[in-house]
């Protein structure tokens, strides 16, 4: 029951925000997001006490003719991503607090609707319900990017984003339907779909794999399905970019991990190495792209593709280290990227530019900002004792178990990541102050709060990741065990 509340609360608050005029909407949104945060921790508490607690499930028939249920169920991995959503959403709202936003009622209600759909995606245990939430998440973010975007080509860019991801998800739907029609019990529950998928011959599993992989690959995005991403991230309002990169892309990695990998093990045995190859090439490719970017926001967009490529490779390697690393890295990436995009936002608001070459010397005028930026940067380059390291180390280990050379190639990210991150930091923050950056002033309170929370999470989760790993570990083992009968002949 309480899980349904997790979805109901942002939905109701979103509706409420629609009718609150002006600044009030902002307060409603923040209040609701904080309440949701508390609620999610209550859920965590219940889950820790007893994962089988009935309060944590809901399963009622919905469209009986098609065997569709309104079935929400908590898993350790799902809960982690729900927590990511409920932690990041208030941070994202707070970071927008000092900005002028036209039509705030609509804006903040869309943010809340988005949160509702995201939580739904991570909780759904019914394939069709998963699909519904998946598509529901697209609509609010599309409106946010379209209506509050910052570029002249906005409508063109967001249209491409919309069509591209929609196109991908149709393939996912087709894949899910295919699984449904081959499942033993004709319902959409995860277990049943898995049984259906595992009963398929290898070639058919391969087909399903590619159809659904395409959807997830576009969403994350993985090379070469990524070209909507840099434009969209760059032209979206910062709130939109944060929602997209911090949380929404985890729908793709989560889908891959939870809705595809366990479903068609034979298909993955056949095609997994090809898909890992794509992901790994994407890591190096996107890192190289990041190196030559002149716009800081675009640079971070490309760095995100590189990070996600490694996560995808770890999931596709499908072993304990790869999966656990993937979930850890999803959380770390979400936190870090929100910090990075806020930093870009602060810089571009204060100086009027995001072009690295025009900036420089900000550290002289605001050392505290420089320190916070550095901590976020260290998380992004996966320095040990930051949150980025735990995930990256496990991911590279996971890929190594799959194929040593691929992991060596993927590991280039630790070199190239340092190249583009340090170069841009030097360009923006170090050196002599110039007339563009001379006026750089103090941070606003809301910005300081968000950056401090982000920095604390980066170090806290890097030093003591155990609580999260305890949450993920058993789930990963269960997933791996569930496919064992199919893989071992």
């Amino acid at each position: 029951m309480i899980t349904a509340l997790l979805i109901g609360l942002p939905l109701l608050a979103g509706l409420l925000a629609l009718f609150v005029k002006g600044e009030g909407a902002k307060k409603v949104a923040l209040g609701a997001a904080l309440l949701e945060l508390v609620l999610s921790f209550a859920v965590l508490y219940l889950f820790k006490k007893d994962p089988q607690n009935e309060q944590l499930f809901i399963n009622t028939p919905w469209i009986q003719h098609f065997g569709i249920h309104f079935h929400l169920q908590l898993s350790g991995i799902g809960l982690c991503l729900v927590l990511l959503t409920t932690v990041l959403t208030p941070l994202i709202i707070i970071s927008s607090y000092s900005r002028e936003i036209k039509n705030p009622s609509l804006f903040y209600s869309l943010v809340l609707f988005m949160q509702m759909a995201l939580v739904g995606v991570f909780l759904a245990h019914d394939g069709f319900l998963f699909y519904i939430f998946w598509e529901l998440a697209l609509i609010p973010i599309w409106f946010i990017c379209l209506m509050w975007g910052e570029s002249k080509n906005n409508s063109k860019i967001t249209f491409k984003f919309f069509i591209y991801t929609l196109f991908g998800s149709l393939f996912m739907l087709a894949g899910l339907i295919y699984l449904y029609y081959h499942s033993p019990e004709r319902n959409w529950s995860w277990e049943n779909l898995q049984a259906g998928g595992m009963s398929l011959p290898e070639a058919k599993q391969g087909l399903v794999f590619w159809a659904m992989f395409l959807a997830f690959a576009v969403k994350m995005p993985v090379f070469p399905f990524h070209t909507w991403q840099p434009d969209t991230y760059t032209s979206s309002p910062t709130t939109g970019t944060m929602l997209l990169s911090g949380i929404m892309l985890k729908m793709g990695t989560f889908g891959l991990l939870f809705w595809l990998m366990p479903m068609v093990p034979l298909g993955i045995a056949k095609w997994g190495s090809t898909a890992i190859g794509l992901s790994v090439v994407g890591i190096v490719y996107a890192s190289c792209m990041a190196i030559v970017q002149k716009d800081l926001k675009r640079l971070i967009a490309y760095s995100s593709i590189a990070h996600i490529g490694l996560i995808a490779a770890g999931i596709l390697a499908f072993n304990a280290q790869g999966l656990q690393g993937a979930v850890m890295q999803m959380l770390a990436h979400g936190i870090n990227v929100v910090g990075l995009f806020l930093i870009v936002d602060i810089i571009s608001r204060q100086t009027g530019t995001r072009e690295i070459a025009k900036l420089g010397g900000i550290r002289n005028v605001n050392p505290r900002f420089a320190m916070l930026y550095l901590i976020v940067l260290l998380g992004a380059v996966a320095l040990p004792l930051t949150n980025g390291f735990v995930g990256e180390f496990l991911l590279i280990s996971g890929v190594y178990k799959f194929n040593a050379w691929m992991s060596a190639f993927a590991g280039l990210t630790i070199i190239l990541g340092a190249v583009y991150m340090l170069r841009s930091y030097q360009g923006v923050m170090l050196g002599e102050t110039n007339n563009v950056t001379a006026s750089f002033g103090a941070l606003k309170t809301n910005e300081t709060i968000v950056l401090f929370v982000v920095a604390a999470l980066i170090i806290g989760l890097g030093v003591y990741p155990k609580p999260l790993m305890d949450l993920i570990g058993p789930d990963v083992q269960e997933l791996l065990n569930s496919v064992k009968p199919a893989v071992t002949p």
Binding site: H226, M289, L394, Y464, V476
Partner: protein, 627 residues
């Protein structure tokens, strides 16, 4: 005491946090006290641990579970054994002296507090590196010291050149780190453990090594790649000379005494693994020897006092790897110890000279400083004598041990080693004569300002000078004084030298003669004839030009790696990314749009398209159902 050893790294961390939170609100005096005090307390504890520790002891102090994933289980815990204990003493002892020195050296700098913040953080990570009880905790310290090195090289962050040097150091280290990381993972995947505890990786690897010869060699090479990055060996050495951009105490602490010896620590720690990897060990020896010679020749023609010392460090590290490679692990650790004293002394002395010279670093503009700054002069001379291998000073014994083991392995290596030590003696005395002897060649203003450094700087110099003289007595070879090599017994590596005592005496004698003749040559050229190096490279022959320009290694890397990477990335972005990958997507989009325009009446804008898509999907459902 040993059960409290976890406090050793925590104390400097605590200092770092206090300094970091206090920031500029703290007075310089207080910041200095916190900075030095935390390291002094760590030193006191290290001494306590050292006193309690017996030969052959190994203690594990567990903190908490850190990373648990499947069959991977990593604790955050510490190891206390003789090897760690030696490094603890060096890091906290020399570290403390350099902290004290820095209170004088950095006194006028506006970033004084920030400097001590970073320095304490460095000591924390360095201690973590040598105390980590598994490879991943070692890696944490390993990357952490890299971060501090980055921060301190770029300490004066307004200067773009310094920032570039900092970036270069971090990135080159990361190249090595990737090798190290892959080595760690390969160990884990093969043997299922990374822990130094009994029953951990070393025991497992020993029992399974015979069936995994290739793996052992690969691990050996991968770990050594990591060591090459951190300890500045060929081909990853070029960051270290540039790292001299940092304040001089940093060069002494990080880029001479401690961090750069992490690679030697790592391989000494992995000695069991290397004993099953003869090929990897041979590579270690050869690379070490080549680096020792290569860097020493560059040192011959450098004119920046810190750069000479930097190349000398690279060269000395090469000797340490040579030692590891020929199986003289004790000798390598011995040389780490003596080198920590005399090289820290030399760098701090150089800092004192630079202060006296109002910031001048070019030895062509110095000369005759002996009388003006007597304490600096005497201590610097002692350091120079120690590194040059003057008998009975510390460097003499450690270098002799390395050369003896090298002789046993290969006489060719030994000849090269002796040549290397001759070069060392020559360029060090060249440095000494040009700096302290002859006539003053600087400006009037500089001459007017010449002054001896304050006590906060000279006292550490004196203490280090005493250590540079005396530290050799922990490792007097057995043939000189029977059963005397304390370090050998303490560390407990099984190394037996089969040379006869006569041979050992001869080897030692040759080294002494070679060293003294090199010094005599340096004296003839720079002492007696008072030659001053030319101001530019016009008069040089092609070999001299090559050496003067450091064999153009930086330029070659630039042309071979950096430029191509930028070029390929740029072309990749403009052609592959924008034209091809995105071009195909847009092409498909245009095609679809064209089809869409045919069916335009169905669709009214983007949301309409979405509805269309939903309808289509329902049709798909229906079709699949029929099928």
């Amino acid at each position: 005491m040993i059960q409290y050893s976890w406090l050793i790294p925590l104390l400097p961390l605590f200092g770092f946090i206090l300094l970091g939170l206090g920031g500029k609100k703290l007075s310089k005096g207080l910041a200095g006290i916190i900075g030095c005090g935390s390291v002094l307390a760590a030193f006191a504890l290290s001494v306590g641990v050292f006193m309690q520790l017996h030969e052959g002891d190994k203690h594990i102090v567990k903190m908490f579970d850190w990373i648990v994933a499947g069959d991977l289980h990593l604790d955050l815990s510490f190891i206390i054994d003789p090897l760690t204990s030696i490094f603890l003493l060096i890091i906290t002892g020399v570290g403390f002296l350099i902290h004290v020195y820095s209170t004088g050296y950095m006194k006028e700098d506006e970033g004084f507090n920030r400097f001590f913040t970073y320095l304490n953080l460095f000591v924390f990570f360095m201690l973590l590196l040598v105390m980590g009880s598994n490879y991943v905790v070692m890696f944490v310290g390993w990357e952490g010291v890299g971060l501090c090195s980055y921060l301190l090289i770029g300490f004066w962050f307004k200067n773009t050149e310094y920032n570039k040097a900092a970036n270069k150091a971090f990135i080159m280290n990361r190249i090595g780190d990737l090798g190290f990381l892959l080595g760690i993972i390969l160990l884990f995947v093969t043997f299922g453990s990374l822990s130094f505890e009994d029953g951990g990786i070393f025991d497992k690897a020993s029992s399974l090594a015979r069936d995994n010869k290739g793996v052992m060699e690969a691990v050996g090479i991968l770990l050594f790649i990591g060591a090459c990055g951190k300890s500045a060996q060929i081909p990853l050495f070029t960051w270290l000379p540039d790292a001299m951009a940092g304040p001089t105490p940093v060069s002494a602490l990080i880029h001479a005494a401690t961090m750069v010896t992490a690679g030697i620590y790592m391989i000494a720690r992995s000695q069991v693994l290397y004993s099953f990897a003869p090929m990897a060990l041979e590579i270690v020896a050869v690379i070490g020897l080549l680096t020792a010679l290569f860097a020493a020749t560059i040192g011959l023609l450098q004119n920046d006092i810190k750069k000479v010392l930097a190349y000398s460090t690279v060269s000395q590290l090469g000797f340490m790897f040579l030692a590891l490679g020929v199986g003289a692990t004790t000798g390598a650790v011995f040389h780490v110890t003596t080198h920590a004293f005399f090289k820290a002394l030399l760098f701090l002395g150089a800092g004192s000279v630079i202060h006296a010279m109002s910031g001048e670093q070019d030895i062509r503009r110095m000369g005759g400083l002996a009388k003006k700054i007597p304490i600096t002069h005497i201590t610097f001379l002692i350091g120079t004598m120690a590194i040059a291998g003057i008998p009975f000073l510390s460097g003499f014994f450690s270098k002799d041990e390395i050369l003896a083991y090298t002789y046993e392995r290969s006489q060719v290596y030994w000849i090269a080693g002796v040549l290397g030590s001759m070069l060392t003696a020559f360029y060090m005395f060249r440095l000494y004569f040009l700096t302290f002897r002859g006539k003053f060649r600087g400006t009037h203003e500089q001459e007017h300002h010449l002054h001896e450094s304050p006590a906060s700087m000279t006292i550490p110099l004196v203490i280090l000078a005493i250590l540079a003289v005396g530290a050799g007595y922990i490792g007097i070879p057995g043939f000189v004084l029977h059963d005397s090599h304390w370090l050998h017994h303490y560390l407990g590596y099984r190394e037996i030298i089969t040379l006869s005592h006569e041979k050992e005496w001869i080897i030692m004698g040759i080294a002494i003669v070679a060293g003294l003749s090199a010094i005599a040559l340096a004296w003839t050229v720079f002492g007696k004839n008072k030659t001053v190096p030319a101001d530019d490279e016009k008069g040089f022959n092609s070999v001299q030009k090559l050496v003067y320009n450091k064999y153009y290694v930086d330029e070659i890397y630039d042309k071979l790696i950096r430029k191509p990477l930028d070029f390929i990335s740029d072309i990749g972005y403009r052609v592959v990314e924008l034209q091809i990958v995105d071009g195909v997507v847009n092409g498909i989009g245009t095609g679809v749009k064209w089809i869409g325009s045919v069916a335009r009446y169905v669709q009214s804008g983007s949301v309409g398209f979405y509805v269309l898509a939903m309808v289509l999907s329902v049709i798909v459902i229906a079709m699949v159902k029929l099928w």
